[in-house]
Symmetry: C2
Subunit: 335 residues, 2 copies
């Protein structure tokens, strides 16, 4: 199993090992003949460069750390797919990590990645406190936050325009004739969610609607939680809304389930609008109308920004905001 090294090749080809290195790295200070000959020998001997050794002298591993809260989450797994693709196109590989929304774990992973000498880190933060907790590391390693709007924080991030997305949603429902729109799942502990709620409020104000909220005090985004909250909501005596705008698609999925059980038909009895456009939302029988976060674009911009930061050793930062779009399916109706 012992790997053949540059030295073995050199010996076999009858040249010095620096010549082999030159042949492999595509250097021009080498004759065509020797290059061809060496490359031939490499092939015969099944030689593969040792990237670890190369990394050490080059001071670059061409490895990126991707820290997610969990790949087992439809939004993140799709994002991870595109990130890997974009990274691969740029000659990078991804080390995947899951923080499980645990900030200590997240910090540990940061240290681990720094130890592994990754060239940069792509982070879907565990929570709103992540930036503060990770600050000490941010000067040591190029990092970009993904999916979470950090507002005026002096660190690079790429995020969807959550405020605008919420406005688009409200306007869509308004144009369908809805005047009583409940915002479901508002949370205080995430800038992203604050912005969505603010966008909702702003749109209501502009259109002369009265904002109504159903708050998510547990700050969970699980289906289960949406279900529990919705059950409670639907069992109240009178319903004063004709549409629900859910803060996330997973919440919306929970609402669907609760509605089903309570005999409420969507969209006949109640219109439902989500946010994120996770894969599940497009499934048959679900067909959730929602505001999409363009994951491929998010990945593309994230990599551009990060690679730029790595190459130029930029000490500045950039905030990149992506426009969301409405995906119309079958969970909202005209009234």
């Amino acid at each position: 199993m012992k790997n053949v090294t540059i030295k073995d090749v050199a010996k076999a080809a009858g040249v010095s090992y620096s010549t082999v290195s030159r042949a492999l790295s595509g250097s021009r200070e080498i004759s065509h003949d020797t290059r061809e000959r060496i490359l031939q020998v490499c092939k015969e001997m099944n030689y593969t460069v040792n990237t670890v050794a190369r990394s050490m002298v080059m001071k670059s591993t061409r490895l990126l750390g991707l820290i997610l809260t969990s790949v087992n989450n439809p939004f993140m797994s799709e994002l991870a797919y595109y990130i890997d693709q974009e990274a691969h196109m740029r000659g990078y590989n991804i080390i995947l990590c899951n923080s499980s929304r645990d900030m200590d774990q997240e910090r540990e992973l940061f240290e681990l990645m720094i130890g592994r000498q990754v060239d940069g880190i792509l982070l879907c933060p565990a929570g709103p406190g992540s930036y503060e907790r990770l600050r000490p590391y941010l000067s040591r390693i190029p990092t970009i936050f993904i999916g979470e709007n950090l507002r005026e924080v002096p660190e690079s991030y790429v995020s969807v325009d959550n405020f605008r997305g919420a406005q688009i949603g409200v306007e869509y429902l308004y144009n369908l004739g809805h005047r009583d729109i409940l915002y479901f799942g508002r949370r205080r502990n995430s800038t992203t969610h604050q912005l969505r709620a603010e966008g909702y409020a702003a749109a209501c104000e502009r259109l002369g609607l009265t904002p109504m909220y159903c708050n998510n005090t547990f700050s969970s985004t699980s289906i289960r939680y949406g279900y529990d909250l919705a059950k409670q909501l639907f069992s109240q005596q009178e319903r004063r809304f004709s549409a629900i705008f859910a803060a996330t698609d997973t919440n919306a999925l929970g609402i669907m389930q609760a509605a089903e059980e309570m005999g409420l038909q969507i969209p006949q009895d109640l219109s439902l609008l989500g946010f994120d456009n996770i894969r599940d939302s497009g499934l048959p029988r679900i067909e959730l109308t929602t505001i999409e976060q363009p994951k491929q674009l998010l990945a593309n911009v994230a990599l551009d920004t990060l690679v730029d930061k790595i190459q130029n050793e930029l000490s500045g930062y950039s905030h990149r905001i992506i426009s969301p779009a409405l995906i119309e399916r079958n969970s909202c109706r005209k009234i």
Copy 2:
């Protein structure tokens, strides 16, 4: 941004740098006092070990390559989550790669991973030909195949008992009173799928049922494909089956959609059973009864096997077959 090294620490602490190395690696041939002092200095200087340098001398990166067809696939993303978890517990990190079911890509990734000196590779093969194509590499790097049964091939794999899973499914439907069970999505180009079809046939034989097939000639597992095939199937004049056993959950999802459109109610008019238990299947409104592949267990066994292979430099192989289980939801009815 320049990282502090073991030498910087040594200088600051007034010791030789091998002493620092000893303090960090938890060696016992060092006095308690110096160790404490050195550790203190490390903390003050914000020292982090350079894993790359360490890897080079240790000849182990504690990195594992995970080559999937796509993380953007509910089964694989869940598997990836558990694999990362299990790897992390054992002190390994994961380099994630996607082959997109392309064998050339897969081969390239193998070379890349070998170059990166990963300690081992976890592979969800791109196709049935993967083993043959990758054979030259398998002697160079400990590898384990996941999710695909390689039958008598002399290489380690961990897979669910697909034959048994299909039997369980047929028996379940039989006990519900079904006598006309269609097997949907049979494919020839995957051992896993052959085994499922064989399990179905064997169970039919044993129970005195006549096997019926609807073949997937395009060997796609997408929802879309299930949908197209089902549309075609449902538009035929008479239906001679009361239940469909779908080769995969994604196929089942497509069937559901087609049924919906044709006004066929599941499970009232037609029972539907899946295979895999992807996350989507448990969603509200979907509630697909299915045969589960236990992903966490798969990940656990895969890592045990691989780590064992790495540590013992085993040249042998092991075939580990996991028992599947029925997950009863709401898509099959008693008749």
